[in-house]
Symmetry: C2
Subunit: 449 residues, 2 copies
């Protein structure tokens, strides 16, 4: 007990922004808001500016540098006008900023050491009237500001840092973890960080909450938290079953053995190529890797495409008899689909079952097709014809190097990139990946929850 | 059409016993019956002698040398007395005979070039009153004698020879084919050999007949022919789905391309060891063989035990990741379980899935068991823990050579034989099997329906 409180106090001291940091943030937000309001007045448009996100709610951890400012326009404004006015205001507020694109185009820039997003949205009556996802954000801030006092905000900080430490923080499509909003709602629900841990340790998914008791839809997700501002939305829709399990594991672990390292884990030492060779020799497997230039798209497009491609190529390998022990993907400048194979070679022939002999037309067609071929058979097994025919690919590497890889289910930009060229590495050659992905390979070969 | 009749005439000429052969058989049966009746009189027992089987019904093919004589005792006689009287009469009729054991002990011997079985049974009122399976046989003979004229008997000969040619004749547990009685009932049902072929070519199993329309039981067999003398019995109970398919295949084949070779196939040339090596190289597989002394039991015990052992060891190989492309068994002096493997080696590790993390007691037990072991992990995959742990056998040959083979489902005499010792051959070593099983290997590597 005491030990847990000690650890939590130490963590809190590391992550809680101090008065100076809070003051600098407040000053920056004040200055940016003033600039925005002046620009709105200059343009004579009906708009207002609000601060949203964790820095608005006092739930940001020390060192976070994200300021989110939303400019709200009347809901009857057409979308083109909203977008062009939003950008015009954004450039006025952040003269050195550049444009990015999420639901709308918006301006991103630096101010006094902070990363600032200046995002246009519609000022709708309620979160159910939204025209795009960003319109919902101000409602979240309003909801939480009214409920999170300073003590609860500190508890949120702890839970968010815990989620960061176990790699389950973030609702981006790479992480598929807990959004800040979801973390805040859970702390509100259970009343504190320790209470969240004790509860999640005992969860039996699917777990469902509906803080405002207004949910109207059903969801097939391991965790369902009905958005207090929108009865049709599951705040945890993106959260993977794996991250639910990860939180459960580490909640038990931290309560059992409290320690700061869960919140601030050291990354593993990157592997050298020779260390990869040692792991391969010890495991007796055949790793193969498909390496290509990472497609130039945002992470929320890139990772789903890589995940789809990893599954697609993995299925294609398995269907051809090349058994995958485990697979992973790495992305930086290159992207890598990495498969550790238990079976990398197959015989020259494969069995192919035909129809039951009593289905006369099909059976005769099958028999005649193969009777004069190079296949062994046809013979009868049970009530069916079967043959042993030449296998298309006797080696996983041959398959991966062939155009047949393009028939696998691939992400669209992965497919177009593969068409322009890619490398296939096999066995000890995969040690070369350590130059770019040594840390990822260290995690791969020493996997943890 | 004409061609089919030509072929059938030529076959009939080869298999129909001529007048001389029929006369020699009749004389032998007469002499044996006389001897039996004298012996019965000498012992003053209430018994009679009847001839049964194909030689009794005129449905034997030329060269068959089996005479079946049954001696029938009153149903109230106790079994011990029946058995001792049966043997005493048998030795009187066949002074050079020896005892064998089926349902009862009986005497088997030679007489004038014929193989004679002298079998005791009960003279029951109807086939439903039988005390053992042999009591039923006389009813079959009576039923068929009343219905098979000489023309139909000739048609039976053709169908039986066809079944012999395609290796589907015999209700023994090695062949699992058509008994003579079943062949005769089908010819009766359809009216001739050609009609049987035309009908079977179109069968959609399950196929059911009940010639006397008195069946009382249901059966889960591909072919059901209710015994005209016993409403509770399927005459085709032993017939395998594979032999049904084989008959369908060759019925179509013979009608399409009539030829004598279907009735009288040449056995393939036995393979030499080097030819086995060539097949292995061409197929790229790894054959492995477990060879041991064939247990000294009758074929109807031996083959089911070998089949069970083949399936049991095959399952054990597959469960350990050694994929079986095809398997077969050979038996003579030795018995061989032969497996052609597509995968004969596996990595040093195997994946082992644990419980879902949310099942706390099981999950924690699994985690703690492996956390400090040599296994890789535990890690989380989906909602479960998983580890990669050392694999017990990385080579199929190592498994087959170990005591773990005895945990496979084995026939009882196979298990006791393996405990006394066996050989494991792998790859080209399996060529050595050609010395004893060259013909079987020729069939294996050139499989036909």
């Amino acid at each position: 007990m005491a030990r847990f409180e000690e650890v939590v106090s130490a963590v809190r001291a590391r992550i809680r922004p101090d008065a100076d940091e809070r003051e600098r943030l407040r000053a920056a937000v004040g200055e940016l808001t003033e600039r925005a309001e002046e620009a709105i007045a200059d343009l004579s448009v009906d708009a207002d500016v609000i601060q949203v996100g964790s820095t608005a709610r006092g739930t940001w951890t020390s060192g976070d540098r994200d300021i989110d400012l939303f400019v709200r326009f009347p809901p009857e404004m057409d979308r083109e006008e909203l977008e062009s006015l939003g950008l015009e205001l954004g450039h006025a507020v952040l003269p050195d900023g550049h444009e990015e694109y999420a639901e709308h185009p918006y301006v991103k820039g630096q101010f006094d050491g902070f990363d600032v997003d200046f995002v246009p949205c519609y000022r709708v009556e309620s979160a159910t009237d939204i025209q795009s996802a960003v319109d919902r954000t101000p409602f979240h801030t309003t909801y939480l500001e009214a409920r999170l006092d300073d003590d609860l905000a500190d508890e949120v900080l702890l839970f968010k840092q815990f989620l960061k430490g176990i790699c389950a923080y973030g609702s981006d499509l790479r992480t598929k973890g807990f959004s800040g909003y979801l973390a805040e709602l859970l702390v509100l629900e259970y009343g504190g960080f320790r209470e969240v841990l004790e509860a999640t340790a005992e969860w039996h998914p699917p777990v469902r909450f509906d803080p405002e008791d207004h949910g109207t839809a059903t969801f097939d997700d391991p965790l369902v938290v009905i958005d207090p501002t929108d009865p049709e939305r599951n705040v945890a829709a993106v959260l993977s079953a794996e991250n639910v399990a990860r939180v459960q594991h580490y909640a038990r672990d931290l309560l059992e053995t409290p320690r700061e390292s869960v919140f601030f884990p050291e990354p593993p030492d990157p592997l050298a190529p020779e260390e990869v060779h040692d792991f391969i020799a010890e495991r007796g497997t055949t790793p193969v890797a498909v390496r290509f230039d990472a497609p130039d798209v945002v992470d929320d497009q890139l990772y789903p495409q890589l995940q789809k491609s990893l599954a697609g190529v993995g299925d294609a390998l398995s269907r051809r008899g090349f058994d995958v022990l485990r697979a992973d993907l790495f992305a930086d400048e290159s992207a890598v689909l990495f498969f550790e194979l238990a079976v990398a070679e197959r015989p020259a022939i494969e069995r192919h079952d035909g129809p039951p002999v009593h289905v006369r037309a099909h059976a005769t067609g099958f028999y005649e097709k193969y009777a004069d071929s190079d296949a062994y058979g046809p013979f009868i097994d049970g009530d069916r014809y079967a043959v042993e025919r030449e296998r298309e690919f006797t080696s996983a590497v041959d398959f991966l190097r062939s155009d047949a890889i393009l028939d696998a289910a691939l992400g669209v930009h992965v497919e177009s990139t593969l068409k322009t060229g890619y490398d296939v590495l096999s066995g000890d050659e995969t040690g070369l990946l350590a130059e770019e992905f040594g840390t990822e390979l260290a995690r791969y070969f020493d996997p943890k929850p």
